[in-house]
Amino acid sequence: MKKTLIYETLTIPDPSFNDDQVKMIGTWHGMNNICAFPTKISRKTTSKTSVKNVDNTERNIILLKHKSMLFDPKVRQLVNESSSLFQELQINVEDQNKSTDALYYSRKYRAILSTCIIAIERHNKDKLDEIYNQYELLLRNLELIWHLCEVLYLVTVPGDTILNNLLDWIKIHYEKAENQASMIIDDKTAYFTDECVEDKFPFYWDTIFGLVLQGNTDLVRALLFNHSQSKTEPFIQAMKIFKSMPTYSIYGGLPIAEYTSRFKGWQSNAKNKLECGIFLNDPNLQDLMKIICGEPDCTNLIRKHCSTWFEYLVAQLIYTDPTVKKHNLSLYAHRSVTNYYKESEYNHMDTLALDLFDGDLEAFVKKLKSYPDSGWSSTHLTNLLHLCDKIEPEFGISDATKNSNPNEQYLLDYGTFLMTHHSLWQAGITYLDNCSDVGKEYLSVLLSKLGITSHLRTTKILHYATSRRLHNVVSSICKVKGMLSLQKSRLGEALFWAIRGQDSAFATRLGDIFLKEFVSSGQFSCPDILENLGSIVLTCDRFMFIGKYLEFMKLVKQSKLSEASSLYIDLLRSNICPKYFRLRLLLDVLMFIDDTNECYFKTSEVALVTMRLDDAIVEYEEINGECTDECLSDQICNIRRGIVKLLSISFR
């Protein structure tokens, strides 16, 4: 069997590592990248730097990024389309009223695969791009193996006679012979002129062999008819034999035993003709007849015309055991693969196919995991097989309490993997959503680790987090955004994020900055945002105060002083004014002294103002010590004078 490599070694060439003493230290960065840097390890106590001669050693930091096939722009549609199909499938399964048609979904997945292959093919017409050639090969092989899995496990076959399904499978993936055949038949010039078809198309006989080995007798007859010798006896006989070949159809009503005896009769009839020597003149016809007679000595002949052992296996079955049962395939498959290969070196595809023929789905699924498509196939196919109860959920799991489902582990891995990509992360969410509790933990970590440099992206992330009730993610992102705004001194923007994240602690901080700015400059920055504070005034005391204070200012501006005065007293009474702002607030009492000498305050209210002033002075001295600066003592005097005046008015 194949030597399985456990891991791959990657050599990192860099002049930094010229000195053998230099070690490479690896660390992770971002979602899924590795950073390696050079260093020397020395005893830390001896390394006090002495100023050495100028040191020209190169010290490079190497950042390694994993590039997967799925990240390629041409393959991305595969990821996106399959994720929506995956989502559709999960919803369908949950719906009790609908039966899950696994075959339907399997075909849809394959359709997505082939669309992707066609897109790559179209992009890489001249086959010059080595990478795309590889991608195409990888995806083609994947489609082949997926289809085999579908044919063997998802298509229901009455009586388990599997050959027709296998023929469908082979015909779709090995269409060379059929294409060549139609090329020959479509060529009318040979028909009208006397040109020999077999001379004009050097691949004429190869095509016929290919078709015979796919059981396509109608096309074989058509081709033989085009042959220049088609009117001769051997050709007429051959065409007759092909025409009379009995085909088995499940719905044809013929019981297997009946069919088998007819097939045997037909074969012995052909054998008779072969032994009579009718075909001796034409070695190609002779070989052809040997094959359909199921002669054991023509295996090499068959092998020569098959490009893989899959074709070889099916080709042999057509003429040796046309009613083969599914459970007998394993034996045939192993026999074919050993006959086909000279050495016993199997590749990954071979072992995958063998597991399928053996009926060992669990081994198949495990091996599929290491298919180099970053888990695309193992995730989707395992999920599908699991949902239609083809695989037991508990295999290979020891930590049964935690992840009770291997399918879930695949979803976690694949979802996490997609989330590391800057544009595929939304598709990744679909998979993590279907992973119970652990998925939620992963989501909340991964979502909050996504870069939030672009506004659109941040909005999307917040949308996903909100709809999944990941409130800690929302508040964390808003806080980070707010801090970044604050760092750029964009107060209004920071406040927007505090409000968005309902972060009252952060809002309080911002409120303080607003108020302190007002104390020093006499006006608020970003008045438009402060006008529309919304619900933050209810959750954050500081903004409740700012809101009320702004309202007060507005009333003063509109000269509605009597309303302003009652609001002013409310503000003083409720004591929600922050300490550093108290004197500033008390200074506003002067606004109520005008020429009209109108009375705005009752005596008791003036007493409250006095009381608050005394408190404020005490507080101020407590904080700043005894030294009160001149400006402030001027203010205090002004306020006191104002109070006296108000009191005198109120007594009138």
């Binding site: 791959e8 990657l10 590795i34 106590t45 390394s47 006090k48 490079n60 994993h66 001194s489």
Partner: protein
């Protein structure tokens, strides 16, 4: 396929640490040349040097980022016996419209009498809190009571471990515990050939409001060079990776019905000798599923757990020689003298490096 991107760090002496911010978009480096440098990644993925300053009067051992919820904050520790807190300030924009950035020292933590060997911020739910450890074997906890005022970093606790400390790591939060105690594991690289434990667990006691050493892990007797708890991701236990004479992964499971003693069972989940020599560094990926270890053999090895069994999933080897530009397996293009791109391997086959 792996794409490599090489950046000339421009440090004039050995690089000791490279730390990435929460999003992996900023990189800080520190060196024996006493400088700290900060690099930013632009939208095209290119890394540009955005700041470089002389941070200490001795080798700078470690550099670490605080959670971005607290702002753009770095902490460094040095041979000069201090640790420092740095904050990035944005000045007025220049004529070109770009904001001028620079880093200012917000606090200098001078309590240690010997070289400060490691510095780490605590989990963000504990607030703005910092732990340091030093060569004289003292673990110190500093806390900024007001996260908006970075000038105040009072020393809150000191725990003496009596053996030279080399590294420390904070516990992540567990999913099952409502609010577990804050825990720090401290390692010692004392190589005086004693068979004493080189790994200590310190815990915060809610009742006495003190940090104290609560456990010495007896199975770890070789010098410990680095240590890190795995990110939690819904696990009900802690995973602690240790770089010592080999790679070791310890599993700390909480015992729910205990009242006294150390409330965890400690078992070795994995132990690898693949480096065949001392291991210097360990690092977890963001989901705590793949461990990267760096050894004295110059290799970086990647380890992944598949259902309780750990296996190596990749090895990175160093090579001092640059590949020939025309060689088949790698292509390199010199962008400028700072950065260089090259691709390593093009074949996607079943056993390629899968480190996710």
């Amino acid at each position: 396929m792996v794409e490599a991107h090489s950046i000339n760090a421009e440090h004039k002496d050995l690089i000791h640490d490279v730390a990435f911010d929460y999003y992996g978009e900023r990189m800080a480096t520190c060196s024996t040349d006493q400088f700290v440098k900060v690099w930013d990644q632009d939208e095209q993925g290119t890394w540009n040097l955005s700041a470089s300053w002389k941070a200490h009067c001795g080798s700078v051992w470690k550099v670490t980022w605080a959670h971005p919820e607290f702002g753009q904050i770095l902490a460094t520790c040095s041979f000069d016996r201090t640790a420092a807190i740095w904050e990035e300030i944005m000045g007025e924009s220049t004529e070109g419209g770009t904001l001028l950035r620079h880093w200012v020292r917000r606090a200098n933590l001078v309590d240690s009498r010997t070289s400060v060997t490691d510095v780490k911020f605590g989990p963000k739910s504990f607030g703005l809190i910092l732990a340091t450890c030093s060569a004289d074997g003292v673990m110190r906890i500093y806390e900024a009571p007001d996260s908006m005022n970075l000038a105040q970093w009072p020393l809150q606790h000191e725990v003496s471990l009596k053996t030279p400390s080399s590294c420390l790591t904070w516990n992540p939060l567990l999913s099952t515990f409502r609010m577990p105690n804050a825990m720090i594991a401290v390692g010692s690289d004392d190589n005086s050939n004693t068979t004493n434990s080189k790994l200590f667990i310190c815990e915060y006691n809610e009742v006495s409001r003190k940090w104290a050493k609560t456990e010495s892990i007896a199975s770890v007797t070789h010098p410990v060079h680095d240590m890190i708890f795995a990110p939690n991701m819904g696990r009900s236990f802690y995973l602690l990776a240790i770089a010592t004479n080999n790679i070791r992964i310890l599993k700390l499971k909480p015992i729910t019905d205990t009242t006294t003693g150390f409330p965890y069972t400690v078992e070795t989940a994995a132990e690898f000798n693949d480096h065949l020599c001392t291991v210097w560094r360990v690092a977890w990926n963001i989901t705590g599923t793949v461990l990267a270890s760096s050894g004295d053999d110059g290799c970086v090895r990647l380890w992944k757990a598949t259902i309780d069994t750990w296996k190596c999933v990749g090895v990175l080897k160093r090579d001092g020689k640059l590949p020939q530009p025309q060689s088949k397996s790698s292509q390199s293009t010199t962008q400028n003298n700072l950065t260089r791109f090259f691709k390593l391997g093009q074949i996607t086959h079943p056993s390629e490096v899968h480190w996710h």
